[in-house]
Amino acid sequence: MNSFSWFYFPARLAWRQLIHDRTKLIAAIAGVLFACVLVFMQLGFRDSLFASAISAPTKLNGDLFLMHKQSEAMWRPVPFARSELMRTFGHPAVAEVSPLYLGLTWFKNIEKQTKRTLMVYGYNPEAELFGLDTVITQQRELQVKDTVMFDEYSRPEFGPMRELLEVGRIETEINDYTIRVIGLFRMGVSFASDGNVVTSDQNFMRIFPGRSLNMIDIGVIKLHPGSSTDQVKIDLQQRLNEFITIFTYDELLEYEKKYWSNTAPIGFIFGFGMVMGLVVGLVIVYQILFTDIVNHRNEFATLKAMGYKQSYFVRLVFATAFFLAVLGFIPGLILSISLYHLAESQMFMPMPMTFGKAINVFMFILSMCFLAGFLAIRKLKDANPADMF
């Protein structure tokens, strides 16, 4: 046998046997499709969580970032003394330092008067800590007392801000303090906050009367061009108090991601859901392949009596597994793409269907089907012609 017929003949028989019983085929495809959609959704939610969790730090403008050692993540910082940040000025490579103040508090929906929690970012607008175009162009207006800018990508429960601003309804309350929304920017929500507001450091203190300019949440350091970030980090570590952690930009993003995947159980939950989806799919496909072998035992024994080798049936089972994987994956992918769109439009979570993700899931599904095939093959030994006739 040449290599073509080596696989082609058992695959063709597998295909003919599959399409012979349409009802069973549809049930089998539905099983794989189910596993496929489950894995896609879990993966989608998890990736979306990671993407949105770091939507704020991703936009940060800086080379080094100071945080209190006890800060588990940006959304729940432990404030530290501003003087720690100022001490870094002693290093010749440090060009600029600016404090960033963070606070979670409620924001009143202008239309419905309902209150919902969002994240307030306070910093000197001239420092341009966030790479948000509209905030940078409106930095002068943001210096004015009691002004804020609002994240357009916040959840709709805060109200249709764009429409409200257009008709001049810009006054509302944050933390019982009346402010005016003077513009919009685009950042994105995370699992920690449903919305974002940017304001000046002075206004931040007015919104949060309990806070002081001397206790900051994050210190942002910009270095002179050409200086080594890693070297400055090492130098600063020796100068600063031991309760300060220094991050580079990449380290900060990694730290945030790690919080959501490890410290918060959310990463685990989605990973677990994905594994469960695969296990359920595995059991379904195994059941299908297993009963398939049992049902065709007589036919396999006949073929064996005619001179077909055991390996032919192994290829046949794997071909069946392959066909099920492909036939279940294609509708699974289509369904998942529409569910992703639904999630994006209804839940405002970024859920992109990337080529890499599709390939990954297909590989998962294929290995799942092959593993099921591998487990089912043992049943082939029962197809012994001498015992059957």
Partner: protein, 225 residues
């Protein structure tokens, strides 16, 4: 005439619950090329067991079973597969693959060998089905065929590979008198045409007339030869 099956002093027993049940006792039989031999005997006399040993489906360990010049006693898997491929086996039930058409079923015999193109295989299958009188049933699946037609498809399947030996295990058992007679007549005709030997096991006494020789198996021994 050359001997295609030569069985000498064959003993065979089943091990069941630590009990040894002898089935074949010191059996001797030789079948020549082109010969049609019918083996009869009461059920439980070991006919089918004997057939599965000669067809290389069952491993025997005592005596000598030479089929087409190869020794099947304590044979390797490779030897067994090779004998199976050179043997046409007709089962008591038709044992056709129910997802395949008549033509595809017959073609399965030829797919084991890589010496034909798909068209040649299908043409040969068509010819074989015409020869068994089913030229108009090529695309029918087994569930659309009558019992007699199914058995004729399985005869076509057994003979499509031009085997030197055809082994048949009660091929008429599930057929009525007329279709049973038809099936074995076709079988005899095709075998004579290609010079194949037939060993047919049956207790259907209506078909004994097609045989060149009838042997009776009783209690694991050949009684009349």
């Amino acid at each position: 005439m050359s001997t295609v099956i030569n069985v000498r002093n064959l003993n065979f027993s089943f091990d069941q619950d630590e009990q040894v049940l002898p089935v074949l006792k010191n059996m001797n039989i030789a079948i020549q090329k082109g010969e049609i031999v019918i083996m009869t005997g009461p059920s439980g006399s070991g006919k089918t067991t004997f057939l599965t040993i000669v067809g290389a489906l069952r491993q025997a360990i005592e005596g000598s079973v030479e089929v087409l010049g190869q020794q099947l006693i304590n044979s390797s898997e490779q030897t067994k597969v090779s004998i199976r491929q050179q043997t046409g086996y007709i089962f008591q039930q038709h044992n056709l693959l129910k997802s395949l058409t008549a033509q595809q079923n017959v073609s399965m015999t030829l797919e084991m060998f890589n010496d034909m193109s798909e068209k040649e295989r299908l043409d040969r299958a068509t010819d074989m089905l015409k020869a068994v009188g089913l030229g108009d049933r090529l695309d029918h699946k087994p569930d659309k065929l009558s019992g007699g037609e199914r058995q004729r498809v399985s005869i076509a399947r057994a003979l499509a590979g031009r085997p030197k030996i055809v082994l048949a295990d009660e091929p008429t058992a599930s057929l009525d008198k007329q279709s049973g007679q038809e099936a074995v007549t076709i079988l005899k005709h095709l075998a004579k045409e290609s010079g194949a030997s037939i060993l047919l096991v049956t207790h259907d006494y209506r078909i004994l007339d097609i045989a060149d020789r009838v042997v009776e198996l009783e209690d694991g021994m050949i009684r009349s030869n």
